[in-house]
C-alpha cells in the first residue's frame, strides 16, 4: 500500500508501523467519575467496519509522524491522510 503523507507525499506502507483504530486519540479523563468504565471501553471496545476505517499509522522509518489514515478495509483504498496531531486538536485535545 501507499500512504500519501501530508508532509512527505506518497510513501510505501512498509515505512509505517500500524497501531489501530484512531479512536485511541479520544483517551478518557483519568481522574473523573466513571473513569474505569470509560477506560474499559477505550482499551477494549472497537468497531470492526467493513468499509471506511480511521486508523493510526506511525511513520517509524520516516519523519516519526503519527497519521490518521482513512482506509477502506474491503478494498484497501485510502481516501484520506491527516496528521494525527491535527486530528487530536480538532477533537479538543490540547495539553
Amino acid at each position: 500500500m501507499i500512504i500519501d503523507h501530508p508532509l512527505l507525499g506518497p510513501c510505501d506502507a512498509q515505512e509505517f508501523t500500524y497501531k489501530g483504530d484512531a479512536c485511541l486519540i479520544d483517551r478518557p479523563e483519568g481522574l473523573g467519575d466513571g473513569a474505569e468504565a470509560a477506560f474499559h471501553d477505550y482499551a477494549y471496545l472497537r468497531d470492526n467496519p467493513a468499509g471506511l476505517h480511521r486508523e493510526l499509522w506511525f511513520h517509524e522509518q520516516g519523519d516519526r509522524s503519527w497519521l490518521v489514515v482513512t482506509r477502506n478495509t474491503l478494498t484497501h483504498e485510502i481516501v484520506g491522510v491527516e496528521l494525527a496531531r491535527d486530528v487530536a486538536r480538532s477533537r479538543g485535545r490540547g495539553r
Partner: protein
C-alpha cells in the same frame, strides 16, 4: 523428432545437455522440453500419486507434468518445468519421483492399487491407530507421493531485491502487450513491459499466420526492436509478474541468470522486483484446457496449442504420426499447421457433429477419443465414431483442445471474481479489478490477433488519458480476426480413469466421489481431491474439475464458481524471496562502541535483538562459562567491574512541559524531580499491565534523559510519540532517540568512585555528599571530553553509568581499563549483569513479560492515585488486584546446589501436578556465587505474605523437581547500604 526446417532456433550452434545421465544435443532457442522432444524423448517424469509415466502437456509455465530437477549440487532446483527451462550448454536435468528409474519405477505399483488410492484415501485408510500417523503413515506417504527433493547444500548464488517505478506496466508481450507498450511508449510514458518468456511475442512466436505481410514472429521482433530504441521503456523478458498488490504495486521475478550455467561475476541469479505503477494492462493471453478421457495422461498427449507451438516455434514433434482431438475451431488450426509443417496427421477428431471441414485433413466429426494405449508413451488411440463404431488409430502423439481460458489470475489477486461467458465457454475477468488495472487481448476472452492488437492499443490510449498524457492511436496492422466457435465438452463418459489434474492425479472418478461424499463446494472439492494444488495451481485442470462438478450437481458452471487465485502466479524460490537477507545478513547487526575492544579481550558474544553484546569474558584456564561469570560477579562486588550498557534505549526529552509529560507517561510521580536527580520509573500500558521500566534523569529544568530496556527502546519511543502527538498535542515537549549517540558504561563495585575520580575532570566533585545515589550531571572526563554521569545501580553495588558521545566509546573503555588496573578492574558481560540483578531482585525482561502489573512486581505503591497517568486507571481494576494476585518473590532451593530451572512452575509439596494447583512460576534463575547457592525470582500467589513457605519447583519439560523456599527477592543488601555508600 526435429522437423527439417523452420523454428526460432539457431541450428548452427549445438548445445550439449544431459537428462538422467544421458547426453543429448539441442540448439539456442530451445527449452529443455523442446530439446528432449527433438531427441525423441517423450517420457519425462512420473506422476505424483500413481507414478504413471508422464511427458509434456504444455509449452509454457502452466505445465503440470514435465517437472525435473535442474542442475546439481547447491544449485539443484527441484520441480522445474522443462517447458520453460531455457537450454544452455552443459545443462543437467534429472527426472524426479521415480525409483530406481524413469522407465521402471517400483512405486508404479500404486497405479495397480488405484482403487484404494482415490480422493480422501489418506484420511480413510491411515486413520487408526492415531500414533501411527506421525511415525509410520506420513513418512511413508511422503516418500511415495512426492515431487523433487531439495538440496541441503547452501545455494552459492546471490538473489536481489529491487524497486521500479513506471507510468504503465504492461504484463505480457504478446500482440496485445506489444501494441499497448508501443502506443504508450511512443507517447512518452514511462513503460515497463514484462514477459515471462525469454523471447517476447507470446503466441505470435507459436503461430503460422502473419501480421500485415510478414510472419507474426517477425512482426513481434520488429515491435521489440522499436521499443528497445525508445529511452522511456524498460523491456523485461524472463520476468514473471507474480502478484497484483494494493495501490498499483506488482511483484515480479526476473530470472537474470537461470539460462546460464552460472551467473556472471557479480550478477544475481534472480531479482525480486517491486514495481510501483500508476496504470497496468494485463495482457497475459489464454491457457488451453484439456478434455478428460480414459488414459489421457500418457506421454505424447499434449495440449493442441502446445503441439502447434512445438512445431512452429521449435520445429519439433513428439512423434511422426499425430492426431488432434478438439471441441472447437482452434483445434483445426493445429491440424492445419501440423500438416503444413510436414507432420503426418492421422485424423482430426471433433466432438461436434457439425464441425467445419478442414482442408487436407481427415475429419472425424461427432467422434470422441475413448481410450489410449502405450506403456511408456502413446502408441494408439481408440476413437468412437459418430455412428458408434470404434476405430483404432496408431499415433505417437495426440493434441487435445477443450477450449481456451483467459489467463485472468492477476485480476483476482485483490477481490475480483471472474464471470462466466457462454460465448467462449470460459471465465472472463470480472469487475472490481485491482485499482489501475485494465485487461486486453485474449486475457479478456477476445481470442483473435486483431482483437489483441486493438485491445492493447485501446487500453493504452485509455491509460494515457487517465495519466493526463496524449497519445496517438496507432494504425492497426492487418491480422486474422477469426471468431471463437466452441461447443463445451469436458469429459468422455466411461468407466476407466480419465485425468482432470495431471499434477495431482485427480480423475473424473475422484470428483464424482467428492460429490457423493458431500464435498461439492469448489473450495471443498479442491481440498478433498487436491485438484488444482501444488506447483501449477490448476492452471490447466481447475476448469475441467469445476465443469464435472457442475454436471453432477446440475448447477451451471457460473453458479459453481471458481476457487480463489492467489499470488504467486508461478512458483517462486524461497531464495528469491529471501534475497540478500540470509545468514549473517538476515538482519542488521548492531555493535556496541566497545565491541572491537571486547573482541580483543576474547569475549563471547550474545545476540540481544539486533545487538551483539559481550556475554562474558573468559580467561585462560577457564573451561566453563560459569567459571568466568562467577569470577566477574565476585570481582565486581569485591572491587570494581565495567559493563557496556549502550544498548539500553535512551530518549532525549526536552521542552517546558517535559516534567508534566513524563508524569503522565510513568505511573509514578515525576513532576517534582529536581534538576540533577535521577528517578526509577515504571511505564504501564493503558490496560494496566507493566510495559517497561528505566530511569529518567533531569539534566535541566526542561531537559530529561529517559532510559528504556534494550528490547523496548523502539516500542517505548513509539509509545511516547503517540502520547505526545495524539493525546497531548499542545504540550511543549520534543523527543528524540539518542540510543546510538551515546556510549554508556556501568562502573560498579566498592571501588567504582575511586576509579571514576581518576577519569572525571577535577572540577567535578563526585564525592558521596556532592554526588549521592540517584544524582546525575553533565560533566567532562579525560580533560575536556563531554560526558554524562548517572549514579544509578542495577547490580546493587555502589555504581555509576558514564556516557560519552559514541565516537569516544572505544577510547573510554580503554581508559577505564587502564585506570582501573590498580583496582583489578574486571569487565563483565550480560551473564554477570543478569546474575547481579537477580541477586539484587531487580526486574528485567523476564519479569516485565507483558502479563505482570506493578502490583505483581512489588511496585504497586508506585502507581500514583493523585494524578492521571497512562494505565493507572485500569491497573486498579478488580481482576488485577485479587487477594491471591501473584507477587515477585525470591526462591532458594533447600539444597543450595540444586539447580532451579527458569520457567518451572510452583506447587505445594505433595500436591498433584495439575494446573488447578499451580502456585506460580519462576521467571529468572541463576547460580549466585555470592550466596554459593542457586537462586531464582518468580511470581507466587500472594507471595509477599508467604515468605518462608516451602514449595516444589517443577519443570515437566526438563524433568527437574526441586524443593524451594520463598524468600525476599532482595538476596543481597536488602537495605540498599552498598549503593548509597
Amino acid at each position: 523428432m526435429r522437423l527439417k526446417t523452420g523454428g526460432q532456433i539457431d541450428r548452427s550452434t549445438a548445445l550439449r545437455f544431459q537428462f538422467d545421465g544421458r547426453d543429448y544435443c539441442g540448439h539456442p532457442g530451445d527449452t529443455l522440453a523442446s530439446a528432449l522432444m527433438a531427441n525423441g524423448v517423450r517420457l519425462m517424469g512420473r506422476s505424483f500419486k500413481y507414478h504413471r509415466p508422464r511427458g509434456v502437456l504444455s509449452a509454457g509455465s502452466e505445465e503440470p507434468n514435465a517437472l525435473v530437477m535442474l542442475r546439481s549440487g547447491g544449485r539443484c532446483e527441484p520441480n522445474s518445468r522443462a517447458t520453460v527451462a531455457e537450454l544452455f550448454d552443459g545443462l543437467q536435468a534429472r527426472s524426479q519421483n521415480a525409483w530406481p528409474g524413469l522407465k521402471f519405477d517400483a512405486l508404479a505399483i500404486n497405479d495397480r492399487l488405484s482403487n484404494f488410492l482415490t480422493a480422501g484415501f489418506y484420511y480413510k485408510t491411515f486413520m487408526w491407530p492415531a500414533a501411527f500417523w506421525e511415525k509410520l503413515y506420513e513418512p511413508m506417504i511422503r516418500r511415495a507421493a512426492g515431487l523433487g527433493a531439495i538440496t541441503t547444500a547452501p545455494d552459492p548464488d546471490a538473489y536481489d531485491k529491487g524497486f521500479l517505478h513506471c507510468d504503465l506496466l504492461v504484463i505480457g508481450a504478446g500482440p496485445a502487450g506489444l501494441m499497448a507498450a508501443l502506443t504508450a511508449a511512443r507517447a512518452g510514458a514511462r513503460v515497463i513491459l514484462a514477459d515471462e518468456d525469454f523471447r517476447m511475442g507470446g503466441r505470435l512466436n507459436a503461430e503460422s499466420y502473419g501480421i500485415d505481410d510478414i510472419a507474426g514472429a517477425d512482426w513481434a521482433a520488429q515491435a521489440v526492436a522499436e521499443l528497445a530504441s525508445l529511452p522511456n521503456i524498460r523491456l523485461m523478458s524472463r520476468t514473471t509478474v507474480i502478484g497484483a498488490f494494493d495501490h498499483g504495486i506488482y511483484g515480479a521475478v526476473e530470472r537474470v541468470a537461470d539460462h546460464l550455467p552460472t551467473p556472471p561475476e557479480g550478477k544475481p541469479r534472480q531479482i525480486l522486483w517491486r514495481i510501483y505503477s500508476k496504470r497496468a494492462i494485463l495482457c497475459a493471453g489464454a491457457l488451453e484446457r484439456p478434455i478428460a478421457f480414459a488414459n489421457n495422461d500418457r506421454p505424447g498427449i499434449l495440449s493442441a496449442g502446445a503441439l502447434r507451438a512445438y512445431a512452429n516455434r521449435w520445429a519439433v514433434s513428439p512423434a511422426e504420426s499425430v492426431a488432434v482431438f478438439t471441441n472447437n475451431d482452434d483445434g483445426h488450426r493445429t491440424a492445419a499447421d501440423l500438416v503444413a509443417r510436414g507432420v503426418k496427421l492421422a485424423a482430426l477428431i471433433d466432438t461436434r457433429a457439425d464441425a467445419p471441414h478442414c482442408p487436407g485433413v481427415e475429419l472425424l466429426a461427432g467422434a470422441q477419443v475413448t481410450d489410449t494405449s502405450g506403456r511408456l508413451g502413446l502408441r494408439a488411440i481408440t476413437v468412437r465414431l459418430a455412428n458408434g463404431q470404434a476405430r483404432k488409430l496408431k499415433v505417437g502423439a495426440l493434441g487435445v483442445s477443450g477450449g481456451w481460458n483467459p489467463n485472468l489470475a492477476l485480476t483476482c489477486h485483490q477481490r475480483a471474481r471472474p464471470l462466466w461467458d457462454d460465448a467462449i465457454a470460459a471465465f472472463v475477468p470480472g469487475p472490481d479489478l485491482p485499482s489501475g488495472m485494465a485487461v486486453a487481448g485474449a486475457a479478456t476472452g477476445a481470442f483473435s490477433t486483431h482483437a489483441a492488437l486493438a485491445g492493447g492499443a485501446g487500453m493504452a490510449m485509455q491509460a494515457l488519458a487517465d495519466l493526463g498524457m496524449t497519445g496517438t492511436a496507432p494504425d492497426l496492422p492487418r491480422a486474422e480476426d477469426t471468431p471463437t466457435r466452441i461447443t463445451p465438452f469436458w469429459h468422455v463418459a466411461g468407466n476407466k480413469r480419465a485425468w482432470l489434474d495431471l499434477q495431482n492425479d485427480v480423475t473424473v472418478k475422484d470428483v464424482k466421489l467428492a460429490h457423493q461424499e458431500g464435498f461439492r463446494a469448489v473450495e471443498h472439492l479442491k481440498r478433498y481431491t487436491t485438484l488444482g494444488m501444488a506447483t501449477d495451481q490448476g492452471k490447466t485442470s481447475n476448469m475441467g474439475g469445476l465443469a464435472v462438478m457442475a454436471e453432477l450437481t446440475g448447477q451451471s458452471i457460473a453458479q459453481t464458481g471458481t476457487t480463489i487465485f492467489r499470488p504467486p502466479y508461478t512458483p517462486v524460490a524461497l531464495g528469491t524471496l529471501a534475497g540478500r537477507f540470509t545468514g549473517r545478513e538476515f538482519r542488521p547487526t548492531r555493535l556496541t562502541p566497545s565491541h572491537h575492544w571486547a573482541v580483543e579481550q576474547g569475549a563471547e558474544f550474545v545476540e540481544v535483538g539486533q545487538w551483539l553484546r559481550a556475554q562474558y569474558f573468559p580467561r585462560a584456564g577457564e573451561t566453563h562459562w560459569r567459571e568466568s561469570v562467577d569470577r566477574e560477579v565476585l570481582a565486581t562486588r569485591g572491587s570494581v567491574g565495567v559493563c557496556d550498557v549502550t544498548t539500553l534505549g535512551k530518549i532525549d526529552v526536552q521542552g517546558r512541559d517535559g516534567a508534566a509529560f513524563l508524569n503522565r507517561i510513568y505511573c509514578n510521580g515525576f513532576a517534582k524531580l529536581a534538576v540533577g536527580r535521577v528517578r526509577y520509573g515504571v511505564m504501564l500500558r493503558e490496560d494496566g499491565i507493566a510495559f517497561d521500566d528505566g530511569t529518567a534523569a533531569r539534566l535541566a529544568e526542561d531537559h530529561f534523559v529517559v532510559t528504556t530496556t534494550t528490547a523496548n527502546a523502539v516500542p517505548v519511543y513509539r509509545h511516547m510519540e503517540f502520547a505526545r502527538q495524539c493525546l497531548w498535542p499542545d504540550m511543549d515537549v520534543q523527543l528524540i532517540s539518542t540510543t546510538e549517540a551515546w556510549a554508556q558504561y556501568a562502573i560498579a563495585g566498592p571501588n567504582s568512585r575511586k576509579l571514576l575520580q581518576k577519569i572525571v575532570d577535577a572540577e567535578f566533585d563526585i564525592s558521596n555528599d556532592a554526588f549521592p545515589f540517584m544524582a546525575c550531571a553533565e560533566i567532562t572526563v579525560c580533560k575536556g571530553c563531554p560526558a554524562r554521569l548517572f549514579r544509578i545501580s542495577f547490580s546493587g553495588e555502589l555504581a555509576y553509568e558514564l556516557a560519552v558521545p559514541a565516537r569516544y566509546g572505544d577510547a573510554l573503555i580503554r581508559r577505564i581499563m587502564a585506570e582501573g588496573a590498580e583496582f583489578d578492574i574486571t569487565p563483565y558481560g550480560t551473564e554477570a549483569l543478569g546474575v547481579m540483578r537477580i541477586e539484587k531482585g531487580h526486574a528485567a525482561g523476564s519479569e516485565l513479560n507483558g502479563q505482570t502489573t506493578a502490583l505483581n512486581l512489588g511496585l504497586g505503591r508506585m502507581v500514583s492515585t493523585r494524578k492521571d497517568s497512562i494505565g493507572a486507571v485500569l491497573s486498579r481494576r478488580e481482576g488485577l488486584n485479587m487477594p491471591d494476585a501473584p507477587h515477585l518473590v525470591g526462591l532458594r532451593p533447600l539444597n543450595p546446589q540444586s539447580r532451579i530451572p527458569a520457567g518451572a512452575h510452583l506447587l505445594e509439596i505433595g500436591a498433584q501436578m495439575v494446573a488447578a494447583n499451580d502456585q506460580g512460576y519462576l521467571s529468572s534463575a541463576c547460580y549466585s556465587p555470592c550466596l554459593q547457592s542457586y537462586i531464582a525470582l518468580g511470581f507466587v500467589k500472594d507471595g509477599q505474605k508467604r515468605l518462608g513457605h516451602k514449595l516444589r519447583a517443577l519443570s515437566p519439560l526438563t524433568g527437574e523437581d526441586v524443593e524451594v523456599e520463598i524468600v525476599s527477592p532482595h538476596f543481597i543488601d536488602p537495605q540498599g547500604e552498598r549503593l548509597r555508600a
